[in-house]
Structure formats: structure tokens, C-alpha cells
């Protein structure tokens, strides 16, 4: 391998990126757009959930509790109901997602035994929302009186939802505000870098084939590994720049706490970039048209990263088979690492396993990419 040739290719590639609008948009504008879109658009938080109330007691106490619900930003009371039939109808017609029922002996039990129960009927056809809503209801009730319990009942969801008596004392770690944005943004960073990295490099070899420059390039003594290194170096720099941008944007715009070490972030981001850029390069070498290569690049990065990396949907809640598949999704390691770095402030030693997995991935991809394209036309 000769540094002179690697440098010649890197310089050429840099000039080409600078003069190619499409590459510039992907490299500079896309991370910004995605940060905004995904940062704001994807939120697992529930706010102002439509709620119906069925107050069977109608006392001062029950009204005070309902005021708590009204005051909470999680709920909006949309109707006051008079019986269970109306409650069922309200849930069936999607007028509300949960119904809060206050028993007729609410105040009495409260004063007699110092504890009472409020019933929550939840539409569990969207069991994620139902779960979260019940959790929020619990916290509202807790706020009203320390030992009120919520008796939750879900409709249409999993059996686990039925008759869930909840009365727990919670202490949440790492994401104290239970703000799902804190949980999602680190994953968004991984998603953006996977997409941008693979998209950019997916064009780099196919462009040479499409423009006919490849034939001349392979007639020179340049080695495939030199082509790979020379082409990936500028994209590595761009990827790092994008990573810095995403990190700064996450911390200073979305106020996601970053508690880990910058060195660990730099190291793991480098590994992830090698994998992502290498995958894009492999696609580019295999598919000789730019359009085809970029479509495949989106397919192999965006889909697995958004669905199977655990960036928004927890891996341990997936079916066992799918969990097995996630080990192949390289973004899962980076998402794990990023979440730990951002929220837990873990050090490299805590992340040994995902870092090692990513290191192996990077080695394999780099090895394959180095021999990806043959200097032959047949």
C-alpha cells in the first residue's frame, strides 16, 4: 500500500464531494433535517391524552383528585360520564383513551383505612400508550395522596393488562424526567450517521462506473485497498463532523444530558463510521449504478437501524428470534453504547462487549471492502 496513491485518491474525492451538490446535501443538510424531524417528530411521550371521568361519588375529595388529572399535562378531561355503559361507549368510539372511575365509597375508604382505589379503564389496542397512560395515572394519583392505588383494567390488549393492580414506589434512574426524547435522541444520532455514512459512500464507486472513469482507474497500478482507504478517508472526516454536529445539537438544543467520556464517544464513533462507510462502499462496489446503490444503502441502514437497533423499540421486548437477528444489526451496538454514554455516563470498561462487537464488525467490513472491487471488467 502506498500513501501517495491513497492521498491522490483522497484529494480527488474531496474535490468531487465539494463540487457535487447531492453529496453536499447528504453530508451537511441531511443530518440537520433528520435531527429536527426525528428529534421533534418521534416522541414516545404522551401528552394531553383524552380522558373521560366517571365520578360515582361526586364528593370534594373525588373532585379534588379529578382536578389533579385536569392539571396534569399528560391528561385532558374531555367528558364526564354517568354510567359504565357510557364509559364503554366512550372507549369504543375513541372519544377517549382511558376512563377514570372513582368509586362511590372513595372518601369513606380514604378516611377509614387511609387508602382507596381508583379504577382506570384503558384502551389497550395500543398497549404501549395504555401502559404509559396507566403509569402516568399512577403518578397523578400518587401526587394526590401517597397511598391511593390505581386499579387498572385494559380492553382489547394483552391479557397481562387485565386487572393490573398498581401500587408501587418508583425511583427512576438515568432519565429522571422520564423524557422519552432523552431516550430517543442518542438513537437518532446513530440512525443519522448510519444513513448519511452509507449513502455517501454508496455513491463513490458506482459514480466511477457510471461516468466511465473506472476503466481508466483500474488500468493504473492502484490497489483495491488503496482505492478503499483513499475514498473512505474524506467521508470519515465528514462523518466525524456530522457526529460532532449531532452531539452538540442533542446536548445544546434538545438538552439531552451527556454524561460519558468524550474519548469513549470518539473511539466508538470511529468504529461505527468504519462499519457504516465500509458497508456503503461494499454496496457501491457491488451495484454499478448510483441510484440502485443509494437505494440499497437506505434499505440496509435505515430499516434495520430504525426497527432493530433498539433506538426506539426496546430489543428485550422483541420475540426471541427477532432478538437474535438484532445481533447482526451493527447499529444495535452503537445505539447501546450511545445511550449508555449519554444517559448513564458509562466508561469504556462498562461497554466492553458492544465495543468489542463493533470492533470485530469494523475489521470484517474493512477487510471485505478492501477487496470489494476487482480490477477487471469481466
Amino acid at each position: 500500500m502506498r500513501w501517495g496513491r491513497i492521498r491522490a485518491i483522497a484529494v480527488k474525492e474531496t474535490i468531487q464531494i465539494r463540487r457535487d451538490t447531492r453529496s453536499l446535501i447528504i453530508a451537511l443538510f441531511m443530518p440537520f433535517m433528520q435531527m429536527i424531524l426525528l428529534g421533534y417528530g418521534v416522541s414516545l411521550d404522551i401528552k394531553h391524552l383524552p380522558v373521560c371521568v366517571y365520578d360515582r361519588e361526586g364528593s370534594q375529595n373525588s373532585q379534588a383528585l379529578l382536578k389533579h388529572f385536569q392539571a396534569s399535562e399528560y391528561f385532558s378531561i374531555v367528558a364526564v360520564l354517568k354510567n359504565y355503559r357510557e364509559a364503554k361507549a366512550a372507549l369504543d368510539s375513541d372519544r377517549c383513551r382511558i376512563v377514570i372511575t372513582i368509586p362511590h365509597d372513595f372518601s369513606q375508604k380514604l378516611s377509614d383505612s387511609g387508602g382507596s382505589t381508583v379504577q382506570v379503564l384503558a384502551d389497550a389496542s395500543d398497549d404501549n400508550t395504555a401502559n404509559i397512560a396507566i403509569g402516568y395515572a399512577q403518578s397523578v394519583v400518587n401526587g394526590f395522596a401517597g397511598n391511593l392505588a390505581v386499579a387498572a383494567q385494559g380492553f382489547g390488549g394483552s391479557p397481562a393488562m387485565q386487572n393490573q393492580g398498581v401500587d408501587l414506589e418508583e425511583r427512576v434512574w438515568y432519565n429522571e424526567d422520564l423524557d422519552s426524547r432523552n431516550y430517543i435522541i442518542p438513537g437518532v444520532v446513530a440512525l443519522i450517521m448510519a444513513l448519511v455514512g452509507a449513502l455517501l459512500t454508496s455513491l463513490t464507486i458506482s459514480r466511477e462506473w457510471e461516468r466511465g472513469t473506472m476503466e481508466l482507474l483500474i488500468s493504473t497500478p492502484v490497489q483495491p485497498s488503496e482505492v478503499m482507504l483513499g475514498k473512505l478517508l474524506p467521508y470519515f472526516a465528514i462523518g466525524m463532523l456530522d457526529a460532532v454536529f449531532c452531539l452538540v445539537f442533542s446536548v445544546f438544543w434538545f438538552h439531552v444530558p451527556f454524561r460519558g467520556s468524550l474519548f469513549a464517544l470518539f473511539l466508538t464513533t470511529s468504529l461505527f463510521l468504519v462499519v457504516v462507510l465500509g458497508v456503503g462502499f461494499l454496496i457501491s462496489a457491488a451495484i454499478k449504478s448510483q441510484v440502485g446503490a443509494s437505494q440499497i444503502a437506505v434499505l440496509v441502514t435505515l430499516l434495520p437501524t430504525s426497527l432493530l437497533s433498539g433506538y426506539a423499540f426496546p430489543i428485550d421486548q422483541m420475540p426471541t428470534l427477532v432478538q437474535g437477528v438484532t445481533y447482526v444489526v451493527f447499529a444495535r451496538y452503537y445505539v447501546t453504547i450511545l445511550k449508555s454514554l449519554f444517559l448513564k455516563g458509562s466508561g469504556l470498561e462498562d461497554l466492553a462487549r458492544p465495543v468489542l462487537a463493533m470492533g470485530i464488525y469494523a475489521l470484517v467490513v474493512a477487510f471485505l471492502a478492501g477487496r470489494a472491487f476487482k480490477k477487471r471488467l469481466d
Binding site: 502506498r2 501517495g4 496513491r5 492521498r7 491522490a8 485518491i9 484529494v11 480527488k12 474535490i15 468531487q16 463540487r19 457535487d20 461516468r211 466511465g212 472513469t213 473506472m214 476503466e215 481508466l216 482507474l217 483500474i218 488500468s219 493504473t220 497500478p221 492502484v222 490497489q223 480490477k375 477487471r376 471488467l377 469481466d378
Partner: protein, 320 residues
């Protein structure tokens, strides 16, 4: 310039075959090229010229046979061969979104031309291509002749002893073509071996050796002068008249007429002078309602030889 052993030919090709599926693009071709000579591959499009050149550059692997370039077997060690050659592909393949200088610097880097001599080599290439003052122009904005000379400039930055030029002059104006051949000649005088393909028959005159290629086969390998002295087996006449197609169909296959082919605005006839004369022909054409503007015997050109040889070699009997 890398030196090869004094008497060793620059290129030795033995029974080279290239098949693409059922199609045989190159069919048992053998030849040698002496160092410092210009060999021209002549033939129609699709004859197999580019395929041979690509095999010699190590871009395609031969299905059968051997190709030794600069003393090295291309199939075994294509990388070493690539250090000894310069290549201009059929399609223009410099980077259009790079400037003249950026392209030259890129290929200088790829061929590892030492930093101390690169500026001088680049200056030479710019001057040779006539691109002084246009160093910072994007290559995509240059006209064909300049692009082509720049491509040559890039191909010789590392002073390769052997140059492969695949249809370098196609789609370039006649003035630029002539200028390009001047460059090729001056390179050849410096001892560079040049393999050039073309479908312009008139360019054959510029070569030391001509390889006539048709349907993947080598029909002839000799100097233009020898080639033109080939006995066509008859007397060559040129007939200028309107409606050439009608004239050919009228005369083809008639006794005494060995071959008839269209050449621009004339019909070239290969005749047996014992059986038919100019006057007979003129009479026949005039009777058929084709006025003859001029008729006379001519010296065979490479074109005539080629058409005749293709006629003899192909089962269909036509020029491919």
C-alpha cells in the same frame, strides 16, 4: 522509462481468445509488436479491437492463450504490467468535475511520479495538449480535441514504455485528429511502443504495422505499404455516379465483376480486365438510367484491401 531486454518484443500475443458466453469476441489472435513501433488495429466497430487492448492492459482476462506485455504475462501479473503501460480508453474517462490540473495531479499521484519531476511532467503535458491558460478549467467544459490530448497527457505522465490507445480519435474533428497523430509520432520517436485502434481507415497510413481485424480474427498484419501492394486478384475501378445502391445491385455478380462496394459517393469495382472494360461498364450503367460522372482505375487504398479481405474471409461474403 523502464527498459526491457534489447531484443525482446514489447508485446507478444499468442492464440489469444476471449469469449463472452457463446460469443467469441477475439478468436485465436497472435502477433508481436517490436519496441518503438506503432501498431494500428483496424476494423469496424465490434470487430474485437477494444477487447484485445483490454486484455493486454489486464482489464479483461483471456479465455485462452497468452499475452506478454513488456516481458510480463498479463494474466499472471497484471499489476506490474500496469506500471509499464499507459491507457486511453475508448470512452473519455478523465474526471469531468476536476480541472485540467487536478486531473494531471491525480494521475501523477496514482502513478507515483516523484514530486521533484511531477511539475515538469505536468507542464509538458499541458503544453503538449495545448492547454496553457486553461489549467483551471473543468475538464467537462473542454472541447473534444483538448480532452483527448489531455487524456494522452495523463496516460504518459509516468513515461510508460508502452501506450494503449483505444479509438483515441473517434468523435474528434479532423484537425485535432491530425494533431493527435503528430503527438503519437513524436512519442514513437522517443521509443514508446504504441498500440492504437481506430475505425478510420485513413489513419492506417500513420502506423508502422497494421493489424486488420474483423469478427475477432486477425486478417492481416503488415506495414501499410505492403498491405496496399497486396494482389486483389483484379483491377480496381472507381465509378462516380448517382444512386450508388442501384448501381451496385445492377453490377454485383455480373461476369467479370469480382466485387462491388460503396465508398462515399463512388462505387469501387474489382474487375477482371480481360472480361470487362470501362466502356462496357459505362454503357451498362447508362442503359440502366444511371449517368456516369467519372470512371477510371485507381490505386487500392487500405479500405479497398480491407473490404476485399473481409469479403474473402466471411461466410456471408459481405463487409461486416
Amino acid at each position: 522509462m523502464t527498459e526491457t531486454a534489447p531484443k525482446e518484443p514489447a508485446i507478444e500475443v499468442e492464440n489469444l481468445v476471449k469469449r463472452f458466453g457463446d460469443f467469441t469476441a477475439v478468436d485465436h489472435v497472435s502477433f508481436q509488436v517490436e519496441r518503438g513501433t506503432i501498431i494500428g488495429f483496424l476494423g469496424p466497430n465490434g470487430a474485437g479491437k477494444s477487447t484485445i487492448i483490454r486484455m493486454l492492459c489486464g482489464l479483461l482476462s483471456p479465455s485462452e492463450g497468452h499475452a506478454i506485455v513488456s516481458g510480463i504475462d498479463v494474466a499472471k501479473d497484471p499489476e506490474t504490467v500496469r506500471e509499464h503501460i499507459g491507457y486511453m480508453s475508448q470512452k473519455f474517462s478523465l474526471y469531468g468535475d476536476l480541472t485540467v490540473m487536478e486531473n494531471l495531479r491525480f494521475f501523477g499521484g496514482i502513478y507515483r511520479v516523484p514530486k521533484t519531476i511531477l511539475p515538469e511532467r505536468i507542464r509538458f503535458a499541458v503544453t503538449m495538449a495545448g492547454l496553457e491558460g486553461r489549467e483551471d478549467f473543468l475538464v467537462s467544459t473542454l472541447a473534444g480535441g483538448w480532452k483527448q490530448r489531455l487524456a494522452l497527457g495523463c496516460a504518459i505522465l509516468h513515461r510508460p514504455p508502452i501506450l494503449f490507445l483505444d479509438e483515441p480519435t473517434s468523435g474528434v474533428d479532423p484537425e485535432s485528429r491530425r494533431r493527435f497523430w503528430d503527438l503519437i509520432h513524436s512519442l514513437s520517436e522517443d521509443g514508446v511502443t504504441i498500440v492504437v485502434s481506430t475505425h478510420y481507415m485513413d489513419e492506417a497510413e500513420y502506423c508502422n504495422t497494421i493489424a486488420l481485424i474483423n469478427r475477432g480474427r486477425l486478417l492481416a498484419l503488415e506495414s501499410p505499404t505492403t498491405l496496399k501492394k497486396r494482389d486483389l486478384g483484379g483491377h480496381l475501378l472507381s465509378v462516380e455516379c448517382p444512386d450508388i445502391g442501384k448501381a451496385i445491385s445492377l453490377l454485383e455478380g455480373q461476369p467479370g465483376i469480382l466485387d462491388a462496394a460503396a465508398f462515399g459517393n463512388a462505387v469501387h469495382l474489382l474487375v477482371d480486365p480481360a472480361k470487362i472494360s470501362c466502356r462496357d461498364l459505362e454503357g451498362r450503367l447508362t442503359t440502366a438510367g444511371i449517368p456516369v460522372a467519372r470512371i477510371g482505375s485507381i490505386e487500392p487504398s487500405i479500405d479497398d484491401i480491407f473490404v476485399r479481405m473481409v469479403g474473402e474471409n466471411s461466410p456471408q461474403g459481405g463487409a461486416g
